[in-house]
């Protein structure tokens, strides 16, 4: 019951915000846009309740305005909130979000806009040059040498523009962001306005009046291509260069186990900063292992397990809210009075676990070292001599794997990592290590320390769906103190940004000859 109320604030607003997205454009401003590689794409769906507090149910709170202890019950009550939804509604909405027609439509729409804009941009100069020849060929002045030189200029500039656009925009999409990319839209609009204004001028002053000065027309076309190149320069600066200078330090914490990292980001919008954080998450954070959290949960359960609350006054006397409240307060008081020895258990349990892990690790290291001594890389000359019993890396791995399998499995079980490594992946890793002449220690490194998520098999990190939760609009820029949440299925990442302070550096010159020393004498002479 409790989980429904925490969703209630969000799902209601997500329905509203989805509608607005269908009209929002996210157009690429140039040529045929990057082909979306949906396999590696992580789509981030918007979920911003406008001007709502990040956590807590304000509606539930307002209905208990008379209750002085509302702080203890903020996330509890269903049924009293007018925004609550049942579990089936949640499932339906998430299914809608996943295979919604709206998102696909948006993607095709933006791609179509980008293609149209690109074609417009590239064909316009050519059209400017050829239309006079088509429409009034007899009146046209012949093209002199300077004019023909300009043809070469137009050709090369268009080629450079084509290459530049290819370099900047023909990259596979990294992610799908919830809101439009403001800079891209601005640039697309700018390009469109530029081209439209050039066409207007051209149609009024040249087509209508059928200007005979062809060199002027060619120069006009060259100026358009120049302007387009400058807009491309502006695009490079806005899209690529501006965020390179680090401006904010973002501290990212994983909610389940507190792993924290800090990143330096430049001036980005919140959604782009979130994307940078997610991409860094995959390579920096150790893999999320839910098995390691079960110990604290069981301890938490044991704290209140010994207590049971009986309602002596009989039913109907209190409202459900009051009953839950008094129950929890009674439990807190009783737990405080009880002599709790769980810290003692924790200490000894951890010491015992440590000892066990170290013992298993020692056995594992010895087993692996011994296994690695059984195979030897064959030299090229020997290869011709003894063709029998020669194995390729995979077979070699399979041959030595059984001798270390048991020790490895026991170690993985003790450190609760057994679900991260499948038999197949271990053998693959072993074959890889053998091929590259790695030592047993190098082979074991991936098992002894939990690595980043990228290290494990793809289903651990493939096609992750992340939800960005933010109080400020996601297209607004990062500021000092901005907080946003990136929710995943198992955990969430909490990110806080702080401004990197302005550094005032002054210089001090030291003359190399100024380094002089004297001895500290304290001699004592007997006379």
């Amino acid at each position: 019951m409790d989980t429904e109320s925490t969703y209630s604030g969000y799902s209601h607003y997500s329905g509203r915000s989805r509608g607005s997205h269908r009209h929002g454009e996210r157009s690429r401003d140039r040529h045929k846009s990057r082909s979306k590689d949906s396999r590696s794409e992580k789509s981030v769906t918007i979920n911003t309740p406008p001007a709502e507090p990040l956590l807590g149910d304000s509606t539930a709170r307002s209905e208990q305005a008379q209750d002085d202890n509302w702080g203890e019950t903020t996330t509890a009550i269903t049924g009293t909130s007018e925004h609550s939804l049942s579990q089936e509604d949640i499932v339906r909405i998430t299914k809608d979000l996943e295979d919604s027609v709206g998102l696909d439509c948006r993607r095709y729409f933006t791609r179509a806009v980008a293609v149209i804009l690109g074609l417009l941009v590239f064909l316009t100069p050519l059209a400017f040059l050829t239309l006079p020849h088509i429409l009034w060929p007899e009146k046209l002045q012949s093209c002199g040498t300077a004019c023909e030189g300009l043809f070469i200029s137009v050709a090369f500039k268009l080629l450079i523009l084509l290459l530049a656009v290819w370099a900047l925009y023909f990259r596979p999409a990294r992610a799908g962001l919830p809101r439009v990319f403001v800079f891209r839209v601005l640039l697309a609009v700018l390009v469109f306005l530029l081209v439209v204004s050039y066409w207007l001028f051209y149609s009024v002053r040249i087509l209508d009046s059928q200007d005979t000065n062809y060199q002027g027309v060619v120069q006009y076309a060259v100026s358009l291509v120049d302007a387009l190149l400058f807009i491309h320069y502006l695009a490079v600066v806005l899209l690529e260069l501006r965020q390179l200078q680090p401006c904010y330090s973002v501290c990212v914490t994983r909610s389940t186990d507190g792993a924290t990292r800090h990143y330096n980001l430049g001036q980005l919008s919140i959604q782009r900063a979130a994307l940078a954080v997610v991409e860094n998450y995959y390579s920096d954070f150790p893999i999320h292992n839910p098995a390691l959290l079960s110990a604290s949960k069981s301890r938490a359960a044991k704290h209140l397990a010994g207590l049971k609350v009986y309602n002596v006054d009989g039913p109907g006397n209190n409202t459900s809210a009051g009953l839950v409240q008094s129950q929890s307060r009674a439990m807190i008081a009783a737990a405080a009075r009880r002599r709790d020895t769980s810290h003692n258990e924790l200490y000894y349990e951890e010491a015992e676990h440590e000892r066990r892990v170290r013992k298993r690790k020692a056995r594992l290291v010895v087993a692996v070292e011994e296994a690695f001594t059984h195979i030897k890389r064959m030299q090229d000359e020997e290869q011709k001599k003894a063709p029998g019993d020669v194995m390729d890396p995979r077979e070699a791995a399979q041959a030595i794997f059984p001798s270390m399998a048991r020790a490895l499995q026991k170690y993985l079980r003790t450190t609760k990592q057994q679900h991260c490594h499948s038999m197949e992946s271990i053998q693959q890793h072993l074959a890889f290590c053998i091929t590259n002449n790695m030592t047993p220690k190098a082979f074991l490194e991936s098992f002894l320390t939990p690595g980043p998520s990228l290290q494990y098999s793809r289903d651990h990190w493939r096609a992750r769906q992340w939800t960005l939760v933010s109080e400020a609009s996601v297209t607004s820029g990062l500021k000092d103190g901005t907080t946003f949440l990136l929710k995943c299925v198992d955990f969430s990442l909490v990110a806080t940004s702080k401004k990197i302070p302005y550094i005032q550096m002054s210089e001090e010159y030291i003359d190399p000859k100024s380094h002089k020393f004297v001895l500290r004498l304290q001699s004592e002479t007997s006379v």
Binding site: R520, L521, Q522, S523, E524, T525, S526, V527
Partner: protein, 127 residues
């Protein structure tokens, strides 16, 4: 015993006469000195003012001539046979004390307790 650079030093001094003792072919006095204007005054354990670069008695060999003459450890030597010891280097002080031609040295030394003794005496005399 603190001094202000440039101002004359005033102190209550005691006259001590030490007869040198012949040991082998050397005449010794039986004490050790420390300090001097070329030394580090901060290391002096006996001085009140740690910028005082005067010559101090750092050790008295028991039973030696200095001990017999009532020289005490921590005394500051102001004059040796008329030669000033307040602004000399360590080596100059040593030389003045170990002149082999002289077999007696007359020292003017000062110590903190001297001032107090004199003051007490004056008080008792006046009252």
């Amino acid at each position: 015993m603190s001094f202000v650079p440039g101002q004359p030093v005033t102190a209550v001094v005691q006259r001590i006469e030490i007869q040198k003792l012949r040991q082998g072919d050397k005449l010794i006095l039986g004490f050790s000195i420390g300090g001097g204007i070329d030394q580090d005054p901060g290391q002096n354990p006996f001085s009140e003012d740690k910028t005082d670069k005067g010559i101090y008695v750092t050790r008295i060999s028991p039973g030696g001539p200095a001990d017999v003459a009532n020289l005490r450890m921590g005394d500051k030597i102001m004059q040796v046979n008329g030669w000033d010891m307040t602004m000399v280097t360590h080596d100059q002080a040593r030389k003045k004390l170990t002149k082999q031609k002289e077999d007696v040295v007359r020292l003017l030394i000062t110590r903190k307790s001297l001032e107090e003794t004199v003051r007490l005496q004056l008080k008792s005399m006046l009252s």
